[in-house]
Each structure stands twice: as C-alpha cells, then as structure tokens.
C-alpha cells in the first residue's frame, strides 16, 4: 500500500492525480475463509482489522450487502466520548476513545478525530447528582471528566442560553478529550488497512442463509454463492434480528429508527459538542460549518430508515430553547438509521447459541463512538473463542441472570 | 365561597378569536358499563341527558355528559351541584361495578369564541377540525400542543376546551398565541 502524505499529494498533483491506486480491492469471494465477518460497517471492519493486527488472522472476508460504511457508520452524528457511568461501559468506550486518538496514524488515513470536548448539560437537580456520580465513577475508571458550573459552560459554549425559562443550565459533565471524528473516513480507513492485509471486502453481497452442522456454523449462503468459514462474526447493526433469524435464534433486541439532521453551514460558532438530555437534543458543528443534530428514537419497530417527524420537532424546539440563535438557521437535510436496542440499552458482544458464531450488536444510539473498542473486543472474542475483559460483561447471558448494564440510571427519575 | 378559585381566575384574551377561562365547572368521572340500564338511568337522573354516543356530548336539563372512552363518561354540571349529582350517580349505580369520582377541581375550562375558532385549535391539535368532520355536539379527546385535552363544539361555533388544572396557564398561553392577530389562516372559511 502506498502511504498517504502531503508529499504523495504533491507528487500526484504534477500528473493530475492519475497515479492514485485503489483504496481497497474489490475481489470475488474465495471458497473458504478462516473468519467471515458479516457487515462492513465500522464495527465489522474494525473487528477484521484487529483480528489481523492483534492476532495475525488475515484469511478474513468481510461481507456487505450494500456499500461499506453505508449503514449507521455513515448516518450518525460522529460524537466520541467515554464518560459512561458503569464500569464495563466506561472500559469499552474509553478503550475506543483512546484508539481514536491515534487512529489516523495507525491507519495512515486521516479520520479527523477532533477532541474538541463534550459537555452533557445538567438541567435539573437530579441530573446534577447523576453527573456528579458519573464524575466520581470516572475518576476511579481512569476516564478524565469533570463536573463544571454554568459559567464555565458559557465560556465553552458562548451561544448557549443559560437562563431558559423552563430548564436553566445548572452545570455540566465535561470530557475534554471527547469530540468528533469523520465517520465515513473511519470505515474507509479500516477498509483500506484490511484490504492491505489481504482481507477480502465483498460489497453488494447479501447473506441469505447461515449454514450449520451439529450446532456449529460451516458457512454462509450469499447472493454471490456459498462461502465456507471456520468462524462467523455477525456485526450488522440494524439487521441483527434478521441475521439471527437466519441462524435460528432470537435476540433481546428490537430495531427502531433513530434520526439526525444538519443545518446549512455557517461560520464557526460552537467549538464543543453539547448534549442536553433533559430536553432531548444534542448538537455539534462540523468542519464544514453545519450544525449536526441528533434526534430521538421512535418507539416502534421499523426498518424503513425513516423516522417520525415529530421527533425532529421535539429535538429542534429543545435546541431553539437551548441555543436561541438556531431559530433562524435552516434544516438542510434529515435522515434516519435503524438501530438495535437491547433490554438494558447496552450492547451485546458475545457468544451465540452456535458455538463458532459470535455477535456484536445492540449499540442503540452509541455505536460510532465505540467502533475501535467494539472491534478490538470482538476480534479478541472471535480469535480466542471466549470473551476478554473488555467484553466479559456484555454477553447475552446477562439477561437471564438479571445482571444488567444500565446507563440510563445517571439520568435519575422524579421524586 | 370566597375560598374557591378556578385555576386562572377567569383570564381572557382577545385575538382574532376570543379565549376565556369559563370558571369552575362541576365535573365527575364515571366509569362503568355504558350500555347498562343502570348507567342510562343514573345519567338520566343526574343530568337529564342520555348516555352519549361515541365521541359525542349530550345535554340535559341539569347538565351535559361527554363520551370519554368505552367505559368512561364525563358529567358536567354547575360547580355547586356536584354533591347532588354525585349522590344521584352513586345512587343509580349502587350495586353495580362502577366508579364515580369528583374531578371538578382537577380541571380548567376555556371557551374559544368569535371568528375562525376552528383555526385556533387546528394549530395545536392533530384533529380534523373542518366542518364536515367536526360540528356541534362532537367531543374529542386529543392533545393541545404538548398536553392532553378534550374539547367540544357548541351550536354557535364556539369551542370549550378542558385540560388539567396544573397546565391551565400553558394551555391558555398556547391558545392565546394561536389566536394572535395576523395569524388567521383562512383554511376553513
């Protein structure tokens, strides 16, 4: 693989860029692989990458029914943070965040990780207590966060309205090394690196069946024919239930639409990421100048990638209240993605009823920020056949034991 | 009794339509078998009205009765008559499985009158308010902007809106904004 650099660009400029090679190959599938990963999204590609990098397993195919990075990886609001409350989540997301710090260099692909800082606003007394709890937990988890007062919030976010008549801003949980990344580039960077290791990324190839023998997977049927494998990883956010169906088991998950939207681009006015959970809105400004806004999930099962407009309304009115200046901006585009939501709203990385089939799913609204950590942990699971410490608590057995990883608790309830 | 005040003490606003709080009403939630003869008799005795048809409000000489759900009615009488009406209902429903609860103080009521009254509600309720779909005697539970509410239409094109007492100010403010001059839509005319 020819390395990317400013010098390479200068060299290519002289010949009108005719010398750039393909970022990834586009091969036909082989008969058999050591490992097949279904799903060439961020988590699938990262899983493959760390299988190669950490375990030397490179006879790997990543099968994608559409185009790589075209699911939730390319549809999210690109927020990266690890200020989670529960130990297992904090460990996983902080691993991911720390891998984002050096991802551009590790992949030789600029994923534009921008640790611009993330604030989660506290707008009720119980939210203050919840975030202070998180800050105390983070202090013991090695996650650097702090609880800041309203004046510091205002310094970081000059466009914020601290004194909204309904929910004044009382403070916030601040993670200085949280931020954003370029979502497509994460998929493309991993894809290029995987392809370079000799892995096959097979796009426009849909899995139609999971072939099994004696409780083990032997391969998959696809629209490009059957492909054999020793181990199978299902990493198909939004389609996990469907794949599980093919494989013959059910999941503790439901698929719902999650929406996002962007404004027209304007000159820089907000350097940090702001999340306002009480009023259900979060916003950051992209390098292009668009205000990138995350909305809520629908309550009903849905595979259409179209959410209900009233969630957009709820989000927008929260933002108009929190950042009055957005009232005179315009919504450029809205879209939806399908996310898998589990019973405790935390992801699943674990074994399935089929011995050599493993699953990474159920990321709900938090998948992008976890990509490198999720891939790291899933690669370990597939390579060793048993979960490592990062994924130990994320198996599906937690639902039968009643051992949940519930992150919503920091929000508190009314008294 | 001077101790007794409605939620907003009769506030009003004159926009392209007029919004006013009507003051206290006697309101009684009745749950039971709406098709039973006991219910028909109890409602008749309490209000003079029959049990209303689905999504209708019926009027009698002593009060009105609104259809709330397949097993619930809202009886509306003068505030001072509540005790008597409750007694009449409890009397008529004694021995059958039913629930009668006084909710007079849990509600606020607004009247929307004047021009383009339908438009005021159509800005904030996801309901077909055209004359073909909604007329005098129709009753609808829905929402007003972000809170639950119910409303019905009178013969003079005025509406009465019932909401919870705690959100009376919110509902009034929303209706006030919706009826501000310059905001006429001209859709129903």
């Amino acid at each position: 693989m020819r390395r990317y650099s400013a010098f390479a660009i200068a060299r290519e400029a002289a010949r009108f860029h005719t010398g750039w090679e393909r970022a990834w190959r586009s091969p036909e599938p082989k008969k058999k692989y050591d490992v097949i990963i279904v799903g060439a999204g961020g988590h699938g590609l990262a899983t493959a990458f760390y299988l190669g990098k950490n375990y030397g397993i490179t006879n790997v195919a990543i099968i994608e029914k559409g185009w790589l990075g075209g699911g939730n990886t390319g549809r999210n609001t690109t927020i990266i943070r690890s200020n989670y409350l529960q130990d297992p989540s904090a460990a996983l997301y902080e691993k991911a965040r720390s891998l984002y710090e050096t991802m551009s260099q590790d992949l030789n692909y600029n994923v534009m990780f921008s640790p611009r800082g993330v604030i989660m606003l506290a707008q009720t007394e119980s939210e203050i207590r919840g975030y202070q709890r998180t800050a105390h937990a983070n202090a013991l988890q090695g996650v650097k966060t702090e609880f800041i007062g309203p004046q510091r919030v205002k310094e970081l976010v000059p466009i914020i309205n601290l004194d909204g008549p309904r929910y004044p801003v009382l403070g916030g949980l601040w993670q200085e090394r949280g931020g954003t990344g370029r979502h497509d580039a994460v998929a493309w960077g991993y894809a290029r690196a995987c392809s370079d290791m000799g892995m096959d990324i097979i796009q426009k190839c849909e899995v139609t069946g999971v072939r099994q023998e004696g409780g083990k997977v032997t391969g998959v049927d696809t629209t490009k024919g059957p492909i054999d494998c020793d181990k199978l990883g299902l990493v198909v956010a939004g389609n996990s239930g469907d794949l599980a169906n093919m494989a013959g088991f059910r999941l503790p998950m439901e698929s719902v639409a999650l929406q996002a939207l962007v404004s027209e681009p304007i000159k820089p006015c907000m350097d940090v990421v702001v999340m306002a959970n009480t009023v259900h809105g979060y916003m950051s400004q992209s390098d292009k100048g668009e205000m990138v806004i995350g909305g809520g999930t629908d309550g009903f099962n849905n595979y259409t990638q179209r959410g209900s407009f009233h969630h957009v309304e709820e989000t927008v009115r929260a933002l108009v209240e929190t950042f009055p200046m957005v009232s005179r901006l315009k919504m450029l585009r809205q879209w939806g993605g399908i996310v898998d939501v589990t019973g405790d709203r935390s992801p699943v990385i674990g074994k399935t009823p089929l011995g050599n089939c493993f699953i990474n799913a159920g990321w709900g609204t938090g998948g992008f920020k976890a990509i490198p950590g999720g891939g790291w942990a899933t690669a370990e699971l597939i390579a060793k056949g048993e979960p490592g410490p990062l994924s130990a608590e994320f198996g599906m057995e937690r639902f039968i034991e009643g051992r949940f990883i519930d992150e919503s608790v920091a929000a508190g309830v009314a008294h | 009794m001077s101790n007794v005040v409605s939620a907003l003490a009769g506030v009003s606003h004159a926009g392209f339509a007029k919004i006013e709080e009507t003051g206290l009403n006697g309101m009684i939630t009745v749950r039971g078998d709406l098709g039973s003869s006991e219910m028909a008799a109890a409602v008749k005795a309490a209000t003079g009205a029959s049990v209303p048809a689905i999504r209708k409000i019926a009027a009698g000489d002593k009060g009105r009765v609104a259809w709330m759900s397949p097993d619930e009615l809202l009886v509306i009488v003068a505030y001072d008559d509540v005790a008597d009406t409750m007694a009449a209902l409890n009397d008529g429903l004694s021995g059958v499985h039913a629930l009668v609860a006084n909710v007079s103080d849990a509600r606020a009521v607004f009247r929307i009158s004047g021009d383009n009254t339908r438009e005021v509600l159509a800005k904030v309720s996801p309901v077909d308010l055209s004359s073909e779909a909604f007329g005098a005697g129709d009753f609808r539970r829905s929402r007003i902007a972000q809170v639950a509410a119910a409303f019905w239409m009178n013969d003079d094109n005025s509406f009465e809106v019932v909401c919870f007492r705690s959100v009376a100010q919110y509902v009034f403010d929303v209706l006030r904004v919706s009826s501000d001059k310059g905001g006429e839509v001209g859709f129903f005319s």
Partner: protein, 109 residues
C-alpha cells in the same frame, strides 16, 4: 408518521396521540416459571422484518391500549384490534395473507 385507527373510539389517530408499547401477545411468566421462559417473556423479541403485532396506547385520546398488525418494512397496517384477546382476529390474518401469503409470526400464521 403513522396513523392508526383506535379500535375503541374509532379515531384515526395520528402518531402524536399514540404511545408505542412494544410487542403484542407476550405471555406473562411469573413465579414458578423457568429461567428461559422468564427471559424470553421479558427480553427476547421477534423484531421481524415484515409482519409484526404490537401494542399501542391511545394516550392523548381515549386512553385505551390496543393492538396493531403492521409491516415493519413498508409500514402497511393490516388492522388494529382490542387488547383483550390472545390472538389476532381472523379477518386481519386474512388481510395479511393477501399481502404476504405464507407469513408466520410466533405461533400465528
């Protein structure tokens, strides 16, 4: 932006009057049930691509819970029906069959 007819008050209720309440026809498992049955009742979900049966409440309306038969791929609604039943009515099943011959959902088909 769904519109569902409330089978109790007859209103074609738009989604903002409704509240989604999850999968329908779950059988409750209480004390004495196996761990698997209990886990299945609380957490395991059909989550199908296609025909689905689900619970709704006409929250900002008559307040009643009801069931809907809906396709999760097209959002086609095959019908709504009262919650006081253990299985979907035959006319709704027939309507689904007209669109998706041979469909099945848990024990129903």
């Amino acid at each position: 932006m769904l519109t569902l007819k409330c089978p109790y008050c007859g209103v074609d209720a738009e989604e903002t009057e409704l509240h989604a309440e999850g999968e329908a026809h779950l059988k409750r498992f209480g004390p004495g049930s196996s761990d698997d049955d209990f886990e299945s009742y609380l957490f395991m979900r059909e989550n199908p691509k296609g025909v689905h049966f689900e619970r709704w409440r006409h929250q900002s309306g008559c307040g009643k819970f009801f069931h809907a038969a809906r396709c999760t791929m097209t959002l086609q609604v095959f019908g709504t029906y009262p919650a006081q039943t253990l299985e979907p009515p035959q006319d709704i099943k027939d309507k689904i069959s007209a669109t998706y011959p041979g469909w099945s959902w848990r024990e129903f088909q």
